[in-house]
């Protein structure tokens, strides 16, 4: 591990933690979410090329935004159904 860029390593761990945190409200349950997230990260553990790792982090950021949007839409639709009669 010593050869791997430490700041990149931190960023990967941070984004993993942030994604885990998002999972607490996942509609299919935290366990469903956690195992899949873990698998997704584990499947990339052999990646050592810095450029590739950066790309992976970018993808994680993208997924994070997608999940936030999912939560927002889910709530918006529920509220619209309840409060907008149109």
């Amino acid at each position: 591990m010593a050869a791997v860029n430490q700041t990149l390593r931190h960023r990967v761990i941070n984004i993993y933690k942030e994604l885990l945190f998002l999972g607490r409200e996942y509609p299919l349950g935290y366990e469903y979410y956690r195992t899949r997230l873990h698998k997704a990260f584990a499947s990339q553990q052999h990646v050592t090329d810095e450029e590739q790792i950066r790309k992976g982090i970018e993808r994680a950021e993208f997924v994070k935004k997608e999940i936030e949007a999912l939560y927002y839409l889910k709530r918006y639709r529920a509220l619209r159904q309840r409060y907008d009669k149109v």
Binding site: N14, K17, E18, F21, L22, E68, Y71, Y72, K74, R75, Y76, A78, L79, R80, R82, Y83, D84
Partner: protein
Amino acid sequence: MSGLRILVPIKRVIDYAVKPRVNRAQTAVETANVKHSMNPFDELSIEEAIRLRERKVPIQEIVAFSAGPAKSQDILRTAMAMGADRSIHVVVEEKDPQLEPLGVAKLLKKVVEEQKSDLVILGKQSIDDDASQTGQMLAGLLGWPQATQASKVDISDKTVTVIKEVDGGVETIKANLPMIITTDLRLNEPRYASLPNIMKAKKKPLEKKTLKDYGLDEQPRLKTLKVTEPPPRKGGVKVDDVDGMISKLKELGAL
């Protein structure tokens, strides 16, 4: 003028995704061991206050406020993680008499006076009581102009322009500060309070107070007679052919 002082009152309610259950005595909705979160309409008001600041409207301070049990702290932290500067928590224990919209409005009036706020942004209603009264009552008590169900807010100098949703269209209102605004669903898209921001929000100041600090001793004026669940939907029936359908419709008095 040295920037706006915005007050955003928020409420801790049963999470929108949870199906509420009525307790056995039929006096209230079961709240023990049920997931709670910030009232979604209040999230919109916090977001709007933050967006006003991001649009370079001079804002001195955004204060989040909540009255409720000790756990209301959690939603105040969320509000601060989203971008409120500090918060005030008036502790009302579950065993104490609960506040009603009028009580909340009276309390908010005192808070507004204490904090010298000149703009109050509230959710149009909470998703537990659905009373939709607090904002209006507060405006009445303060004698301030109000814009309810806002779907767009613009502030230039001391004039506020609000587009509000009314039956069958929109209505544009212009008024001078100070002012009360209540938010509707399409005002904005609230951001997600991220983990790092929640950590940072722990350092932001949170003031704890009681109703006595504001010289209020509200007794409930409303009496809940009975709480029941809505009747379950009856299943539909299948008809064999068109004649069957028509006779069925006639039977139901629809034709």
